[in-house]
């Protein structure tokens, strides 16, 4: 029995011409502006019907805002006068020796207000919440970075803010909980399921279903149901646009490679956006390899996952034989998520972006190196991108007479102040009996 809906329904699983679906509405041949809802076979809306009207309202508001010069001016003003954009592009001259002598340029999202790229997205979404007349925003957070950013945007714009956070994370990240509370947010510890980031998203979705009339769900990454992946990318596109302009200004040409870390993938899709349509630029996404992908304790979703649906989108997913979501593991709370944004799944399948795992140990070595050679303490998340850049640099400079001809841009998505206790524990810098050592063992990020 063919129904009108059946015949008109898109076929996300179909593999006839994924690129056509991906590019529908985008300039011909362009990968940069894929509008969703589908990215090849990925994306879509695998969501309860109760939330579809809210997603439609959000999509409509977003599309109108994107075309509204006033909205764009508002974003530009906040980016410049509140977040501190444009963020710098810093050449890491001493770190370069660890990357085969390639020239390494760091896109300094760590210098943004609140210390990471997250502010770009929360300001944009909070403004949309206001345009929809919503008075309350909810958010999920793992380590607390997106929660802090959301609380910041809510305070700035006068919105009520509720943050869902795994109970165990709340205990480990007591200072980030305090930070959110200082900013006026309410933090709700999540005790369901595995009590991790994915369960915090589940509880945020349950809250949203019940309170959708006055509440916007401020999702923190480029994942979830349409329009979230395309919308979150839009607010982070400024990273890639600035970086492209800056590298051209500083070196006179495009880079050979661009590197970013991938959890859900928002910082990465932001910087990739600037270079996706430049075929000469190789693009790399580095996933959390945890203890090593062979141990099973990792968060390398694209490397080892398989397509499935979670939190509203079809994408690569860490799942067992029954389709149950598997717990991820990483030293970096910001990458510790068993899913990934659907656009990354597509970019992986078509081979435009290479996704590779970086272990905890590799990331921490890159962390140490950047601290010692550049005087910059990176977030452990971003250290995965640095470790990846070291590998890429060695690969691209191999056999070259002048390795400095190779140029690599790395998205330094956040600062590492929050990670000092974890790092101090990792490098045995603490007195065994100190309170800080105790905190570091628990993975606390100050």
């Amino acid at each position: 029995m063919a129904t009108p809906t059946a015949s008109s329904a898109p076929t996300p699983a179909g593999d006839a011409t994924p690129a056509d679906a991906f590019l529908a509405g985008a300039p011909k041949g362009s990968l940069r502006h894929a509008p969703g809802p589908y990215f090849g076979a990925y994306g879509g809306r695998w969501m309860p019907e109760s939330l579809i009207a809210a997603l439609d309202e959000l999509e409509d508001t977003f599309e109108k805002a994107k075309a509204d010069p006033d909205f764009l001016a508002q974003i530009a003003d906040l980016n410049r006068n509140y977040s501190g954009r444009p963020s710098l592009l810093t050449e890491a001259k001493r770190f370069s020796a660890s990357a085969g002598g390639a020239r390494i340029f760091l896109k300094r999202e760590d210098l943004n207000h609140t210390g990471s790229h997250k502010i770009n997205n929360v300001l944009g979404q909070a403004l949309l919440a206001k345009r929809m007349g919503k008075t309350r925003v909810i958010a999920e957070t793992g380590a607390g970075q997106h929660g802090v950013a959301s609380a910041t945007a809510a305070a700035l714009l006068g919105l009520e803010c509720v943050v869902y956070m795994g109970a165990e994370d709340c205990r480990r990240q007591a200072l980030n909980v305090a930070r959110m509370e200082l900013l006026g947010a309410t933090v709700i510890p999540v005790t369901n399921g595995s009590q991790t980031l994915k369960d915090a998203i589940n509880d945020a979705l349950r809250d949203w279903v019940a309170n959708v009339d006055n509440t916007h769900y401020l999702l923190g990454t480029a994942a979830g149901a349409h329009p979230f992946p395309a919308m979150v990318r839009f607010f982070h596109e400024v990273i890639g646009e600035e970086a492209r302009e800056q590298i051209l200004a500083q070196t006179g040409r495009l880079p050979d490679a661009v590197c970013a870390c991938i959890g859900g993938g928002s910082n990465a899709i932001g910087i990739f956006h600037g270079f996706l349509d430049d075929p000469s630029v190789q693009i790399f996404g580095f996933e959390a390899g945890g203890d090593g992908v062979e141990t099973g304790r990792h968060a390398a979703t694209i490397t080892l996952g398989r397509p499935g649906v979670l939190h509203g989108a079809r994408s690569y997913l860490m799942q067992d034989e029954d389709g149950q979501t598997v717990e991820s593991h990483s030293i970096s709370a910001g990458l510790d998520y068993p899913g990934v944004g659907p656009e990354h799944s597509y970019l992986a399948d078509i081979g435009r972006v290479s996704y590779e795992p970086i272990t905890d140990a590799e990331a921490m070595e890159a962390f140490r190196l950047l601290c010692r050679t550049e005087g910059i303490i990176p977030a452990i998340e971003s250290s995965h991108a640095l470790a990846g850049a070291m590998k890429v640099g060695q690969r691209l400079t191999a056999g070259k007479d002048d390795p400095s001809q190779v140029i690599i841009v790395v998205n330094l998505s956040g600062r590492g102040d929050k990670d000092v206790a974890t790092a101090a524990e990792w490098f045995n810098l603490l007195d065994e009996d100190s309170a800080e050592a105790e905190i570091g063992k628990e993975g606390e990020q100050l």
Partner: protein, 270 residues
């Protein structure tokens, strides 16, 4: 195409009442207990049984059902057991047996394979809380192939256009969620439910059943006045948890007393 769920609802209608749809999670506390409880519910007034597949990320479920499904998973529940459970129930009762599942476990096994095995087990079809018709092309094809019902949800927030497309894609009955929220017992039935059922009927749905927050015979009575079926989940799961199969059977009997519209009750008493 015949529909087992529609037939069960129509049998209740022929008896002058609404249908009772009873939910319980598969494997809680184990597979045999699920079969025994479902059979007891069917013998005590449930016309349709809804067997839920425990899932790691049940975003439409409240704390009681989450706790039960988490326990089932911790006890080693495997998705393939649901087919044995459905076969076990259909072997012992005439109730239509639907499976309620989040979509990823179906996708993981393969939509066609899942549908084939469900039909083979005698199942009536699927209730899919996180699958909307827009994404359901593969399921629509498989459910047609194996003659299974596809129960989609409508909500108070659904637009007229979405009501129409959902009704068109549905077979068996339309599941109307009474409120904006997740599963869980509530003290009163939302007033939005009656309007939603009326709108869904007006869109062309022959059978509309109401779920979410229904926990007492009074709720059942209120909903039975305007809906073709009443769905109870959390209250039954709590009864099963606290008092085992006898408690679930007793609550089912009690709930089923509310299925007759008030005027019919008067007739009965006369």
């Amino acid at each position: 195409m015949t529909s087992k769920s529609a037939a069960a609802i129509d049998r209740a209608r022929a008896a002058g009442r609404s249908a009772l749809i009873a939910y319980l999670p598969a494997g809680f506390p184990d597979a045999q207990a699920t079969i025994d409880a479902a059979v007891a519910m069917a013998e005590n007034g449930a016309d349709l049984i809804e067997v839920g597949i425990p899932y790691s990320d049940p975003v439409m479920d409240g704390s009681v059902i989450q706790a039960a499904t988490t326990q089932a998973l911790a006890s080693g529940f495997r998705v393939a057991q649901v087919f044995d459970i459905v076969a076990g129930i259909t072997a012992r009762t005439d109730a239509a047996v639907l499976v309620m599942t989040y979509w990823n476990p179906v996708m993981r096994l393969g939509v066609d394979e899942f549908a084939r095995r469900l039909a083979e087990a005698g199942g009536a079809g699927l209730i899919t809380p996180d699958l909307i018709p827009d994404e359901a092309a593969e399921w629509i094809e498989a459910s047609d192939k194996y003659g299974l019902d596809r129960v989609f949800l409508v909500a108070p927030s659904s637009t007229p256009e979405r009501l129409a497309s959902t009704v068109a894609a549905t077979r068996g009955f339309v599941y109307a969620v009474s409120i904006m929220g997740v599963t869980g017992a509530r003290s009163a039935v939302s007033s939005s439910a009656e309007k939603l059922v009326a709108d869904t009927h007006a869109t062309g749905a022959e059978r509309v059943c109401v779920g979410l927050g229904v926990s007492q015979a009074d709720h059942v009575r209120e909903i039975a006045a305007y809906a073709d079926g009443v769905i109870v989940g959390t209250a039954l799961v709590a009864a099963l948890r606290d008092g085992g199969v006898p408690a679930a059977a007793k609550l089912t009997k009690d709930l089923s007393s509310g299925l007759y519209p008030a005027d019919n009750e008067v007739d009965t008493q006369r």
